[in-house]
């Protein structure tokens, strides 16, 4: 018996999401088939998903081997710590009044999580690219567009070891000019360019 690990993971993902969905759906009234309540369609959808997940699981057991990429011990440890840190940091930060607005608590706790994950080479590219995007979210409202873009490009550039400081600088200057022209001059999106205090 050769297990198809990719299918097994897919099946587990579908089943897990369906179970969570069904559980969350218990707070919605079902109604009847004639007068469907807000919970009726979710119920149908999540049961269907549960069934499909189960079929995928069943098929995976005899699907021939298609293994997942090997995770190192460091990958496991950093991922577990990263998820744990985000789950602990978020409620803690969200309770602080200074960080309650603007999703700062979410952004900062995600950043801490990505920083932990980036320790392991297996997650580094994923973590740094997403950390770049998150830094942009954290800095945009107070720091302005230019600071946010600069920070995002610098952090994301760390994901590619081939980057040299001068190349990153060129990248930043080019993107600042382009974004100013497209988004501020042409489209006039409502965002400040420079930091506000």
């Amino acid at each position: 018996m050769r297990i198809n690990a990719k299918d097994l993971a897919s099946g587990l993902l579908l089943v897990a999401l369906a179970v969570i969905g069904l559980w969350l759906n218990t707070e919605h009234t079902l109604g009847s088939a004639r007068r469907m309540g807000p919970g009726y369609m979710p119920m149908l959808v999540f049961w269907l998903e549960l069934g499909l997940g189960a079929i995928v699981l069943a098929i995976s057991l005899r699907g021939g081997s298609d293994p997942l990429e090997k995770w190192t011990k460091l990958d496991f440890v950093t991922l577990a710590i990263a998820i744990g840190v985000v789950l602990v940091a978020y409620p803690f930060l969200a309770a602080m009044p200074a960080l309650s607005a603007n999703w700062y608590a979410l952004g900062i706790s995600l950043l801490i999580g990505f920083a932990v994950a980036a320790v392991s080479p297996g997650w580094r590219k994923l973590a740094l690219v997403l950390a770049g995007m998150t830094v942009f979210g954290v800095l945009l409202e107070q720091g302005g567009l230019f600071l946010a873009i600069t920070a995002m490009v610098v952090v994301a550039a760390l994901a590619e070891p081939k980057h040299r400081p001068l190349g990153v600088l060129g990248c930043v200057v080019f993107l600042l000019a382009l974004c100013w022209w497209v988004f501020i001059y042409e489209l006039d999106i409502r965002v400040s360019v420079w930091p506000t205090f």
Binding site: K6, D7, A9, S10, L13, L14, L17, G21, L24, H28, A33, R34, R35, M36, P38, G39, M41, P42, V45, E49, L52, I55, V56, I59, D66, L68, E69, N102, W103, L110, K125, L126, V129, L130, G132, M133, T134, F136, G137, V138, L140, E141, L145, M152, V153, A156, A157, A159, E160, K162, G167, C171, L175, L178, C179, F183, L187, I189, R190, V191
Partner: protein, 500 residues
């Protein structure tokens, strides 16, 4: 017939306005560029540019986005022929014969026939869209809610049956997409569903954030993880003119490719890549030069290139006439229309004649422009490949971030994109095709509406879906499509076709 010409004349008057011509050109140029570049496809690009289209009139926005889609089909073939590097999925088969032709010193001929064949196919497909639009629309107006529900179900079933990879996993992705579409305010009772008390979620998950995260950002991470393949142009383009013999061999292939591509494009779940695979299989079996296949047969370039362009065009038919997206790109188009305040559906031909006819005519104009910008400028497009990926991905990331922020002027959109990027990364690692997810997400809320209305009308009797003739037939086709996939022989054929 006269009405058709009057409508087309009206369409050309819309499409030829300076703004619309410029944006069709812009779309075609962007499309060609991303077609040439591997690692960024039309889905990611269109979702990236979605926020930019907010300020434009709906017609102009659609003209530009459409230009990107069919422009990408042209651009993809250039690198496939010259560098054995498919810029798009739909040009994978072009590498098979096209690169061999380039090796034989006939790169110019391969490029010329793929551009001319694409133009011819695009023109025919444009006429087809124009002619079938009003016809299908008049049929669609007699549809009841039950029929609509079944039609959308058929769209979902076929798009997952024809998707790459395992059928059952694709259906799982469609259902997951529908489930994600449930998040937000329930339209009929106003109750919040699955929003976790987050006010930003009361309008549902952000469509652009989802498309950008799953397709754009996840793709960047996966590209960075793969070692970069640098390619240099070693083949000469040579003469662009075809010999008499080549004309003779290529013409029937272009015709066959056009017909097959047009047909496969209309099919829900069809689209450019399916059409080019299909056409290649057909040419290998049917064409006069089948013995040459594998050594640079011009039929293997002409057919698939015509087919993918025809399909890119006709896949607009279900969208414009029924409001049903047939693939991920069309799902983005629905998103663009809804953002503009236009509900896609059969009434669009009547209520938005500028949009409908203007878009159709702009497709033809866009094809003409592509012919002009592609053949003489090939050298320039190939140069684009010399921009290293390390300079490209920060730009993509920046455009994603600003674009998704500007939709609601809220950083919550940025964090949603991060979430969907993680999800997209997981999907890629466990081989789950993300395109059906997008189609399910767009169709889900509409299906719930129609299901509720149909069940209310039938007083809760589910038999209405089988008893109404239109709905019954559609459901039978659904069952047939699913049943056929259970046959092992057919499933194997599909896998072969998908693997090229």
């Amino acid at each position: 017939m006269e009405l058709l010409f009057a409508n087309l004349a009206h369409g050309f008057s819309v499409a030829l306005s300076i703004d619309n011509v410029l944006f069709a050109l812009l779309g075609a140029l962007i499309g060609t560029a991303i077609g040439v570049l591997p690692g960024i496809g039309p889905v990611a690009t269109i979702s990236l540019l979605l926020p930019i289209t907010f300020g434009q009139p709906a017609t102009t926005a659609m003209i530009m986005l459409a230009g990107i889609y069919y422009g990408a089909q042209y651009g993809g073939s250039t690198t496939a022929i010259l560098l054995n590097l498919p810029g798009e999925v739909s040009s994978v088969v072009t590498t098979l014969e096209g690169y061999k032709m380039a090796r034989n010193g006939r790169a110019g001929a391969a490029l010329a026939i793929s551009a001319l064949g694409s133009f011819f196919a695009g023109s025919i497909a444009t006429i087809l869209v124009a002619a079938s639009g009003p016809l299908l629309t008049s049929i669609a107006l007699s549809f009841g809610p039950a029929d609509y529900f079944s039609l959308m179900l058929l769209g979902l079933v076929i798009s997952s049956v024809l998707a790459q990879g395992s059928v059952i996993k694709s259906i799982g992705m469609v259902v997951l997409g529908v489930a994600l579409g449930l998040v937000g305010t329930d339209v009929q009772t106003g109750q919040q569903r699955f929003t976790f008390g987050i006010p930003e979620l009361s309008d549902g998950l952000d469509f652009a954030a989802m498309a950008m995260g799953v397709f754009g950002i996840a793709e960047i991470i996966l590209n960075l993880e793969r070692p970069e393949v640098r390619s240099v142009l070693s083949t000469k383009v040579g003469s662009l003119f075809l010999t008499k013999e080549e004309w003779k061999r290529a013409t029937p292939s272009v015709l066959r490719g056009t017909v097959l591509g047009s047909a496969l494009g209309i099919l829900p779940g069809g689209g450019a890549s399916l059409a080019s695979f299909g056409s290649y299989m057909m040419e290998r079996k049917m064409s006069r030069g089948k013995a040459d296949f594998g050594n640079g047969a011009i039929e293997g370039v002409a057919g698939p290139e015509a087919a993918n362009n025809a399909a890119a065009q006709t896949s607009f038919i279900p969208l414009l006439t029924l409001g049903i997206p047939s693939n991920a790109v069309m799902a983005l188009m629905v998103g663009a229309l809804i953002i503009q305040g236009i509900q896609p559906g059969p009434r669009m031909v009547e209520s938005q004649p500028d949009l409908f006819w203007g878009l159709i005519c702009s497709m033809w104009i866009g094809n003409l422009m592509l012919l002009v910008i592609n053949l003489p400028l090939i050298g320039m497009w190939v140069k684009l490949l010399q921009v290293p990926y390390k300079y490209m991905y920060p730009a993509i990331l920046t455009f994603c971030a600003i674009g998704v922020y500007s939709i609601n002027n809220s950083v919550f959109g940025v964090y949603q994109t991060v979430f969907f990027a993680i999800l997209g990364y997981i999907f890629a690692k466990i081989k789950m095709e993300p395109a059906p997810l997008l189609v399910g997400f767009v169709l889900g809320p509409m299906m719930e509406e129609h299901l509720r209305r149909a069940m209310l009308l039938s007083r809760g009797d589910p038999m209405v879906f089988v008893e109404r003739p239109i709905s019954g037939v559609l459901l039978a086709i659904c069952a047939l499509a699913l049943g056929l996939m259970l046959l092992p022989g057919l499933r194997k054929k599909k896998e072969e076709a998908m693997a090229g």
